[in-house]
């Protein structure tokens, strides 16, 4: 079961963050660091061994390859950030070009076919509003969610206040 999402169409007052991240590589790197700092407090201490066990490159904060075979980086936000958050849970954030008139964020969990782990996927246009929702989801996924079902319920509860279901 893929989980839920939110697009709050009643909210029009919000501010995009790192707005030109797809045009300016310097902003893109700042944007990546933003995610690193946001996620860091929620990470468990054993993620490095977890990454190693899963035969993932030394860096547990960069699960997916974001460069082409010739070494050129993609710089397209897909994903902008990925990391292990615990022994068997990962996070992948896809940040899209800011263009919507309303805050845009969606999320679901899925079972990875790479190995024995579950992944929270967040797709969003980063703004002052969506960053708060994303942070809540990440914190719960890292600290409290015991399985996909409980995470699905949490996503539902976060989004139920302002979703266009």
């Amino acid at each position: 079961m893929k989980n839920t999402a939110v697009l709050d169409k009643n909210t029009t007052q919000f501010k995009f963050l790192f707005q030109n991240f797809l045009e300016d590589k310097r902003i893109y790197v700042f944007n990546q660091n933003y995610w690193k700092k946001t996620v860091k407090p929620f990470l468990q201490k054993n993620i490095k061994p977890a990454a190693a066990e899963n035969n993932i490159a030394e860096d547990p904060h960069n699960i997916y390859n974001t460069a082409f075979a010739d070494g050129q980086k993609m710089y397209d936000g897909n994903p902008i950030f990925s990391t292990f958050v615990s022994q068997n849970k990962t996070l992948r954030i896809v940040q899209e070009e800011p263009e919507s008139e309303h805050p845009a964020i969606t999320a679901w969990t899925e079972k990875s076919d790479f190995d024995n782990r579950k992944e929270l996927v967040i797709v969003l246009e980063l703004s002052d509003l969506t960053k708060k929702i994303a942070a809540r989801l990440i914190e719960h996924w890292a600290k409290d969610a015991t399985d996909e079902k409980s995470m699905a319920a949490f996503i539902d509860s976060v989004f139920s206040q302002n979703t266009d279901k």
């Binding site: 999402a5 082409f68 010739d70």
Partner: protein, 108 residues
């Protein structure tokens, strides 16, 4: 040989809104640009007209990514990319390169 033991593996998926369709590859050679585009089209043709129309832009983005990758020598695993239908909860097209290399230019 089981597909897990083959060196180059991955899949294209169309998911969300109750849909779960995929086209996989598992082979000894890297997946070429031509084969990748053909598999992506095969996936697209599995969908109903409505499902296809909803995901049209996502398929275009996936197609563009594969072609861009080919001009840059392809990609190495692990790749996981999501092309979400704008404004939807979870309707999307995904590309996963699980092992090895994919989207290699034809003369590679």
């Amino acid at each position: 040989m089981s597909s897990e033991k083959l060196k180059h593996r991955g899949r294209f998926q169309a998911q969300g809104g109750g849909l779960e369709e995929s086209e996989n590859w598992a082979q000894e050679e890297p997946l070429s640009l031509k084969s990748a585009l053909s598999l992506l089209l095969k996936l697209k043709n599995k969908l109903s007209p409505t499902e296809r129309t909803e995901r049209e832009k996502s398929f275009i983005k996936a197609d563009k990514f594969i072609k861009t990758a080919a001009t840059n020598g392809g990609v190495f695993a692990r790749i996981s990319r999501t092309f979400l239908v704008k404004g939807s909860r979870d309707k999307r097209v995904d590309i996963e390169v699980l092992s090895g290399k994919a989207f290699t230019p034809e003369n590679d």
